[in-house]
């Protein structure tokens, strides 16, 4: 800064007085630019104990539909029975939430008590002590931890300890409009391949009526377009890294998969696909602007339940395959307690309620059985009411979740865990960079091969520390 202020001072000396003020602002502004980017905010703890003995906990969640429900239900369902715990929600979109939460836990900021994270975070975060071990809390017999579906429970545990409890769990599958397929004289095979899906999508594509054949994610973000794209890569026989951590993004199988995905969007995908993530495609389907949608199983809970205008018109098929027998992903949005939280007990009371069997029953009472958070508890799937209300997608959701193999989802063995992500801490950055390139390819701003060769370069930098 000394350099700066002297330079500016010399300048202001030469020119008239008016410039001095301007230059001061200039110097101030550039410094602020640098600092605002560099300093991590050490804001004081967001939670506090009120004078009346009540505790306020801050909860960070993703802005997906089921999470907005929990926010609405908290006042009547939780606060009424727990008057001493006040819950404050911070709702953010997926990409921002990840950045904010990671920053908070890594810097020990203590901005949140309860954070919503995914299975990819569990191994590193538990090792670093960023999140608390929940094993003893969850052993409460009333909570019935063994009722949580096993692949999900495993994905949220590390070395036998449970670090997060799932709010909902999901795999991916194909949703399609039965009425539109029938009108076009098409039938969906029981276990469709991607080629079959592409053919049907092209037949259903009707831009003049504003209906696209399929809705696929194109929005930047490793949890956005890469989630869907990576499952396609896996089943085409591609992978991110081979067993000796050589990046494989320019391999023929990877290239073929991305070309297929991008071409399918260009031929039969929705307009402006490069902007679309989960919520945008959900909107497209509800508005009747897409005939099929390959995405998270959890979408069915919103699409196939009232007040969705297309409830009852939907059919479901397993994630399309090419070389593997299944290709769905595994994901859970799960709640965990920040390592630096001072209100762990109050936080657990809230998490216990939000992920309990009782919450599911309460939600069902208020919003109907089809709309309850899926993919977490076996008891949900055993409930006759749920089977009746969500019969079309319930069984397939459970089957999809149970048929995933997080450690070997593709054709060749891989040195990392993860289906739609690479289970290493650097992936948030690497994945985002690669997904930016994919967005460029989907938007037609770049060719697939140049997008992939750039991506290969990013992956090489990361791979160096693993070789």
């Amino acid at each position: 800064m000394n350099v700066g202020s002297t330079a500016v001072a010399v300048m202001s000396n030469r020119y008239r007085r008016r410039r001095l003020t301007v230059s001061v602002i200039a110097a101030g502004a550039v410094v602020t630019l640098a600092l605002s980017a560099c300093s991590s905010s050490k804001s004081s703890s967001g939670s506090s104990t009120g004078s009346s003995g009540s505790t306020t906990i801050k909860v960070a969640v993703v802005d997906n539909p089921l999470m907005t429900t929990i926010e609405k239900l908290t006042a009547s369902g939780f606060s009424a029975s727990h008057p001493n715990v006040k819950v404050k929600f911070v709702t953010l979109d997926e990409n921002t939430l990840r950045d904010q939460v990671t920053k908070d836990v890594a810097a020990g900021g203590g901005q949140f008590d309860v954070v919503m994270i995914g299975p990819n975070d569990i191994p590193t975060w538990s090792k670093n002590g960023w999140i608390k071990d929940l094993t003893s809390y969850a052993s409460d017999p009333n909570y019935d931890v063994n009722d949580i579906i096993k692949p999900i429970r495993d994905a949220l545990s590390s070395s036998g300890k449970l670090y997060a409890v799932p709010f909902y769990g999901e795999s991916s599958f194909l949703m399609y409009r039965k009425d539109l397929l029938q009108a076009a004289g098409q039938t969906m095979p029981a276990n469709p391949t991607w080629q079959q899906v592409a053919d049907i999508a092209k037949k259903l594509n009707n831009p003049s009526k504003g209906v696209s054949g399929i809705c696929l994610r194109g929005k930047t973000g490793w949890g956005e377009n890469l989630a869907a794209l990576d499952t396609v890569v896996n089943t085409f026989g591609g992978q991110w890294f081979n067993m000796s951590w050589d990046p494989q993004l320019t391999s023929p199988a990877f290239q073929e998969a991305v070309t297929f995905y991008v071409n399918l969007i260009h031929d039969a995908g929705e307009t402006g696909a490069a902007n679309d993530g989960f919520n945008e495609c959900l909107n497209n389907m509800e508005q009747g602007k897409s005939a099929m949608w390959y995405d998270a199983t959890v979408a069915a809970s919103t699409l196939d339940a009232p007040p969705s205008p297309i409830a009852g018109k939907l059919g479901f098929a397993p994630a399309p395959v090419v070389k593997t027998s299944a290709s769905g992903w595994l994901w859970a949005w799960a709640l965990s307690i920040e390592g630096s939280s001072k209100h762990a007990d109050a936080a657990w009371q809230f998490m216990n309620w939000a992920t309990s069997k009782d919450y599911i029953k309460y939600d069902a009472q208020k919003n109907g059985w089809a709309a309850v958070p899926p993919g977490t508890r076996v008891s949900t799937y055993q409930s006759p009411e749920y089977q009746k209300a969500a019969g079309d997608f319930a069984a397939l959701t459970l089957k999809s979740i149970q048929s995933v193999d997080v450690n070997h989802p593709g054709v060749d063995p891989q040195p990392y865990s993860g289906i739609q992500y690479v289970g290493i801490p650097e992936f948030a950055d690497l994945g985002t960079k690669v997904s930016q390139e994919m967005t460029a390819a989907i938007a037609g701003q770049e060719s697939v091969s140049s997008a992939l060769s750039k991506s290969q370069g990013y992956a090489q930098q990361v791979a160096q520390s693993y070789k």
Binding site: V8, A29, V30, E270, Q445
Partner: protein
């Protein structure tokens, strides 16, 4: 700031008149009331900057706790061999120069119109200024979803009769989108500054010029423009300072994409700091940006200043 100004100022004063140095004690007494401000400025600007310089010499990634160590200038070597960093520099220049030029030109035109006596001038002024008052994040969302959305956006709806159909503006014209939004946001600022200049212009001189038979264009070129010179300079300078930091629009509308087409330096530093959590590398970038901005700002200011004074005042 105060210290550095005073360290440089004395020689200039000495050349002009005989220095009468006040006794030391008196000097400190005079400075005393300034001290709180000085301490405040040092605390909020200089100390964080020095810390940033220190961080930039560390290998420090928050994702790998316990691995922080001193690496000297390695972070600087890394960023200069980083192709995205170079792209970001180019984009930063583009996203500063283009919106500043466009907004000053459009702003001047609007200010000239607003300077006339028209019906409902007060309402018009308020309307023109409103883009500047809307919160940048909210404005960005309005642009993204209400105006430019390929399916529901108003722009496509308005252009439909002209054969434009379902254009995905944000992704096919990403750079133009950002430039447009920034220009839209900053034009009112330029209008305000130029309008202030226009209204301080003496009516007598303008009338005299008219009596002498000068046309509207001649009056503008020979009288109004030279009069506006300091105001335009101020507008360009303040505009550049603020627009170089453009972040909201990029974060909300394009997230730096597609590819790296709209990644400017502030956004890239954000990504490195808060997505890769590489504090060392992000700090090094911050330091480079500060130094580069000061150098470029100094040179550009001199250039702009000399250009204007050659052309305007003395003719």
């Amino acid at each position: 700031m105060t210290t550095s100004t005073s360290t440089v100022a004395p020689p200039a004063v000495e050349t002009r008149h005989v220095p009468v140095r006040p006794p030391r004690r008196q000097g400190w007494l005079r400075r005393l009331p300034l001290l709180p401000a000085l301490v405040f400025v040092v605390v909020v600007t200089q100390i964080p900057f020095l810390l940033t310089v220190w961080y930039s010499l560390q290998s420090w990634n928050l994702l790998h706790p316990g691995t922080k160590h001193f690496v000297g200038l390695r972070n600087y070597r890394t960023i200069f061999s980083d192709s995205i960093f170079r792209t970001a520099i180019g984009n930063t220049l583009l996203f500063t120069v283009a919106p500043v030029i466009l907004s000053i030109v459009i702003g001047t035109c609007i200010a000239l119109l607003l300077d006339r006596r028209v019906f409902g001038r007060g309402v018009l002024r308020t309307l023109i200024i409103s883009p500047f008052l809307v919160m940048p994040a909210a404005a960005a969302l309005v642009w993204k979803f209400t105006i430019l959305d390929p399916v529901f956006g108003m722009l496509n709806y308005v252009l439909k009769p002209f054969g434009v159909h379902h254009v995905d503006w944000i992704n096919t014209h990403s750079q133009a989108t950002i430039i447009t939004v920034l220009t839209w946001q900053w034009t009112p600022f330029m209008v305000l500054i130029v309008l202030a200049g226009l209204q301080s212009q003496s009516q007598d001189i303008l009338e005299a010029a008219r009596v002498d038979g000068a046309g509207a264009f001649r009056i503008f070129r020979s009288l109004t423009l030279p009069h506006l010179r300091p105001y335009l300079e101020l507008g360009i300078l303040l505009g550049s300072i603020y627009i170089v930091q453009a972040f909201d629009a990029i974060f909300m509308i394009t997230s730096g994409g597609p590819g790296q087409k709209t990644t400017n330096l502030p956004y890239y530093i954000y990504e490195v700091a808060f997505r890769a959590f590489d504090i060392g590398r992000a700090s090094a970038m911050g330091v480079v940006v500060v130094i580069a901005t000061i150098v470029i700002a100094t040179l550009a200011l001199r250039l702009v200043s000399s250009l204007f004074s050659d052309e305007g005042m003395h003719r």
